[in-house]
Symmetry: C2
Subunit: 343 residues, 2 copies
């Protein structure tokens, strides 16, 4: 039997790799939010005592990776490959973190889809014998991202209700070969790689609307490729459509006759902040899905409260320059299935 079966753009692992450990590090607002208790470290200071917000972002990513390695009871040199990417130009947080970790490094970029792109590739390598252990990580920081893509937060520019707030957060996850005995009973069972779609949204203050069609496309392909029904998963977690994008996402699915039971669909961008108006349409940024999935979801699975979860991370592949040149926003989404093993 082959270790992987591909149907469409979906890999199904016949010896599913185990989720060995994870690390999550967030900022103050995320720590004070509804998911606060699921994170390993909460930083009160956006600067982390460093000389720049970029250095703070890098430190968050590095902490998340080191926590994951430590929780796994491994040393860095036991990790064969590390996939990482982030929102900064030339993914510098990831590149500089990779330098400090010393693990063979595969840089990736999928904007906020990076978390699941990394986990898809890391799980693929471990499922097929190319790695014993592989790590996937990503991060974001509100002060670096808002400055780079829109306006520095310090300017106090007015946001509108479709805006999302970039999460301060870094998440890392380590997956191990299926034959390795692990404390964890959580496996990565399948992954669906998305196509880039563009429905003509050009407003960088409304990314949820831009990304919703890509999320719907990947979800539909995932269910079709695996020939499963909408009652298969306990939770389908998108990230980060926010409140506006989630409504469009549900509407798009509904138009296709796809309806999930109450509470099955949720979104990292909706979950991470309190719904009190201060965060507009919710959270965004590579770190949002990473900490929601590797903090909240893995915790709920470890406790048996969730048994089967599909994480669909969505990315808006815009740049400051593409916006200035009046281009619309191409978007992508990658899905990864996490399941408790039967034992």
């Amino acid at each position: 039997m082959r270790n992987v079966t591909r149907t469409g753009s979906t890999w199904k692992y016949n010896l599913p790799p185990a989720v060995v450990s994870a690390g999550t590090v967030v900022g103050k607002k995320e720590g004070n939010g509804p998911l606060g208790k699921y994170f390993d470290i909460v930083h009160e200071d956006n600067w982390l005592g460093g000389g720049s917000f970029e250095k703070a972002e890098q430190k968050i990513l590095e902490e998340a990776c080191n926590i994951a390695v430590r929780k796994a009871g491994l040393k860095r040199e036991d990790i064969n490959y590390h996939f990482s990417g982030d929102l900064l130009n030339q993914t510098t947080s990831s590149g500089f973190t990779a330098k400090n970790l010393g693990i063979p490094y595969l840089g990736i970029f999928g904007a906020c889809s990076t978390s699941m792109e990394g986990l898809a590739l890391a799980s693929y390598l471990t499922a097929t014998g190319g790695a014993e252990y592989a790590m996937a990580s990503t991060c974001s920081h509100t002060n670096t991202s808002e400055k780079q893509f829109r306006y520095p937060n310090e300017y106090g520019a007015q946001k509108n209700d479709t805006s999302q707030c970039t999460v301060i957060g870094g998440g890392a996850v380590i997956v191990g070969n299926g034959q390795i005995q692990s404390q964890s009973k959580i496996n990565v069972t399948a992954a669906t790689i998305g196509r880039v779609l563009d429905f003509g949204v050009a407003d960088p203050f409304n990314m949820g609307a831009a990304m919703a069609p890509a999320a719907a496309d990947t979800l539909i392909n995932h269910f079709k490729d695996l020939n499963i029904d909408t009652d298969y998963y306990d939770l389908v977690l998108t990230g980060d459509l926010g409140k506006v994008g989630t409504e469009i996402f549900k509407e798009l699915l509904s138009q296709k006759g796809i309806n999930f039971g109450e509470g099955i669909l949720n979104d990292g961008g909706v979950m991470i902040y309190p719904d009190d108006g201060r965060f507009f349409a919710g959270g965004s940024g590579c770190g949002c899905m990473a900490v929601t999935a590797y903090g909240y979801v893995l915790n709920q699975m470890a406790n048996g409260r969730l048994k089967r979860v599909l994480c669909i991370a969505t990315g808006a592949l815009l740049s400051q320059l593409s916006v200035q040149q009046k281009q619309t926003i191409p978007c992508i989404a990658h899905g990864v299935a996490l399941e408790l093993s039967e034992v």
Copy 2:
């Protein structure tokens, strides 16, 4: 027998995937250079008739991909996955090209190591059953890169002798499952993933020196992991160390007692332009290694002039901001082995 054997950070494929086809597109200076005859399209106009240099760069990448698909006798929908990345912030050339191609897309970033990172991952997927056909592509454009990382060419800023010139070029390669009968007898037999190294070079006008240690590290690991000797390959092609970096690279190897025969070591950045002083230390940019490997090397292999080639693509993981913040330049290199099959 497993489809892949991992030793250290090197994958050796037991059913090596075939190089099915490639596409290469360059600008005028590259077309007039020593390798000019190996490229599919040479553009006389840096703008390609488009509204911006960024749009021109994207068009070059898209052309290279479409040529590769056409030469393979395939349709786009036959390609299961597409790995691509480039130097622009948020790898926009790749993201927008992926939108137009419609192939499931995995965005990668390794600066000028992107070509071989993509080929390593594409060949891994096809070798292990995750894809029937996979494509890897990348590109660069002098007017977009110089503007983003240093000064716009139009400013006429003086360059020094250690500077490299960003290549206008896009390259794409398609690999197919080992069991597929192919016109090509060229196989991808192994790939070595690099670590990020930083020897303290902080000068963005001397990238060759910054990248040489990473190239040496990956080369040493590749030979050690596969237990092969320096007479194994007909050509070890780095890209893009340029003249300055190549000298340092050879010196670093020599210090370790590693010496190659005359003419075995060469560099895409050295080969692509005439050595007449106009190009300083030579070429650079993601497109440089891509068009040298997928144009020149594959041609020489198809003609039997080269039988075994190791391509080591090197990347400097700096950003404009990391330079402004006085950070040194972390570098990486990935190696991919191409070999003629015995038949």
